[in-house]
């Protein structure tokens, strides 16, 4: 493998990894705040992808950042509505957590079929939002990959700033760590919980636009990607924000290099074996390892 190929694969792995990171962040934020494993997260991503694509159909010259924003708004609105209309009601009625998690699987299947109805069952190509290639010291890199990786980093940095510097962001963190104490400090629990779902959904929507622009949009795209992002979140340590970011990128690299060096036909299997291995060896993920070493 020469330098050019190595760089290409690495950038590709990081770009796909950013998609996993954004999705994994959503899983982690939601599980921390509510205890729910949100299995419909992949479908929120898929619908973000579809909405971004539809925006491009309507306005072909739309700036990529705005396409991303459309995906984020769609994902955020969808996940926020799911929490407000369904999960919150289930919680208030004292439905056990396991049953609520089952409901998220139901949502996943429902949304997949709804998308099939709306956008059809054929994979839909995103128009090229970028042309040409970027050259880094003589090595050509696809601008699509760079765009995806850069957007991923920008969104993750923005999320960090939101969570640690703003009033609603700090309230969300407080609710995740100790909901009773947060309420005693004047934080409205249901508002903060809905905000958590909305932000997690926005991350997923962005991931959808990014993944769609790399490959295509497809009503089933959220299923396996969502599962893999869940593996990434577990790799990072479920519930850990930093862990989710790192886990996603690491998982993207492992998968991409695995496809190149082992076999691309088995890359999904490699990912799932990794999940079992992590659970056996590192049940707390990278975040747990970091805590132990410190």
């Amino acid at each position: 493998m020469n330098m050019t190929a190595l760089l290409e694969v690495t950038v590709g792995g990081v770009a796909v990894g950013c998609v996993y990171s954004l999705l994994a962040l959503g899983y982690s934020m939601i599980i921390r705040a509510s205890g729910i494993i949100h299995f419909a997260q992949g479908e929120v991503m898929m619908l973000g992808s579809m909405c971004g694509l539809s925006a491009l159909w309507v306005a072909p010259s739309l700036h990529p950042a705005l396409v991303l924003l459309v995906g984020m708004l769609a994902g955020g609105a969808l996940a926020g509505a799911m929490e407000l209309l369904v999960y919150r009601t289930l919680r208030r009625r004292g439905v056990p957590l396991v049953s609520i998690i089952t409901a998220t699987v139901g949502f996943s299947i429902f949304l997949m079929n709804a998308a099939r109805l709306g956008w059809g069952s054929e994979p839909l190509r995103y128009p090229d939002m970028f042309r040409g290639a970027v050259e880094v010291s003589g090595i050509r890199i696809s601008p699509q990959l760079l765009w995806v990786a850069a957007s991923g980093f920008v969104i993750m940095v923005a999320l960090q700033i939101f969570l640690s510097k703003t009033r609603p962001g700090l309230a969300m963190q407080a609710v995740a760590q100790d909901p009773d104490a947060a309420q005693l400090m004047g934080v409205n629990l249901s508002r903060s919980m809905a905000a958590t779902f909305a932000v997690a959904g926005a991350m997923a929507g962005a991931a959808g636009v990014m993944l769609g622009s790399l490959f295509f949009s497809f009503f089933e795209m959220g299923f396996i990607t969502g599962l893999k992002a869940f593996v990434a979140a577990t790799l990072g340590g479920l519930g850990s924000i930093g862990g989710a970011m790192l886990g996603g990128i690491l998982f993207g690299l492992i998968e991409t290099f695995g496809a190149v060096f082992i076999s691309s036909a088995y890359k999904d299997a490699i990912g799932m074996m990794l999940l079992i291995a992590i659970l056996l060896v590192l049940p707390q993920g990278l975040a747990g390892l970091w805590r132990r070493l410190r």
Partner: protein
């Protein structure tokens, strides 16, 4: 200022409070003492809205708190510092304080609040970027106090603020309670260290198995033979039992 009448509450099938009534007047320091499991913490949880009352009523400044969520009750100025301090361990000291100042929407209000908290507890300023979970027990208690100050309390409910603290930190806690009072903040103090609590309070209530069994001026409760026998250690001559009021007035070691 705070008026609780016939409060009945519990968890699931277990009834912990069987008709609790108490009053806290503006500017007073009132203590609620009693053995472990008597229902002191449950009473505070019901007042702050974390636990729904089954019967009875709670009024703050004449307004009924029935059905209000904890965040709305806190917004009225009735702030509860729960047992075990319950700081946010993964947030920094300053982020904890900012969460306490959730109602301070303007940047200047937040800054003033932070300044006041750091002035009161200079230790927090030294550690403002440190994760709260890495603080010592005493520092965490100071952070819990500082965080509650950020919420602009008019009445502070303190649940076991000295639990598990070294004697020197107990002195600090007592000093902080006196400072709150000097600022005009009304206090409802729950303590297992009855000596300390009655030393700080104007009046006291004694709780037993979900009921108020005695009440009166703190000084007279301190002299009451039953209270002495049950909560102050009969005879109360042995050194450890006297950590409270008397030592506190003296010089810290």
């Amino acid at each position: 200022m705070l008026s609780v009448k016939g409060l009945v509450a519990g968890y699931g099938d277990v009834t912990c409070l069987r008709g609790v009534s108490l009053e806290v007047g503006a500017g007073e320091v009132v203590t609620l003492i009693g053995a472990n499991g008597a229902g002191k913490s449950t009473t505070l949880r019901a007042i702050s809205g974390l636990l729904r009352a089954r019967e009875g009523g709670i009024w703050f400044d004449g307004q009924s708190l029935a059905g209000m969520t904890p965040d709305r009750i806190a917004a009225q100025g009735l702030v509860h510092v729960p047992e075990g301090r319950r700081i946010f361990p993964e947030l920094t000291v300053e982020e904890n304080l900012r969460v306490g100042g959730h109602a301070r929407r303007r940047a200047t209000e937040m800054r003033d609040g932070l300044e006041a908290a750091y002035h009161r507890f200079p230790r927090l300023k030294d550690r403002h970027r440190q994760r709260a979970g890495t603080l010592s027990g005493g520092e965490q208690q100071m952070l819990a106090f500082g965080r509650a100050m950020m919420a602009r309390p008019r009445l502070l409910m303190l649940d076991e603020p000295t639990l598990g603290l070294a004697p020197l930190m107990v002195v600090e806690v007592a000093r902080a309670v006196r400072a709150f009072r000097a600022e005009g903040i009304t206090i409802l103090l729950v303590e297992q260290n009855a000596n300390l609590a009655l030393g700080l309070a104007d009046r006291g209530y004694v709780m037993e198995t979900g009921r108020i069994v005695a009440q009166g001026a703190a000084a007279s409760l301190l002299r009451d033979p039953d209270v002495r026998a049950s909560y102050l250690g009969a005879g109360a001559r042995s050194e450890p039992q006297h950590v409270g009021a008397s030592t506190l007035e003296g010089n810290p070691p």
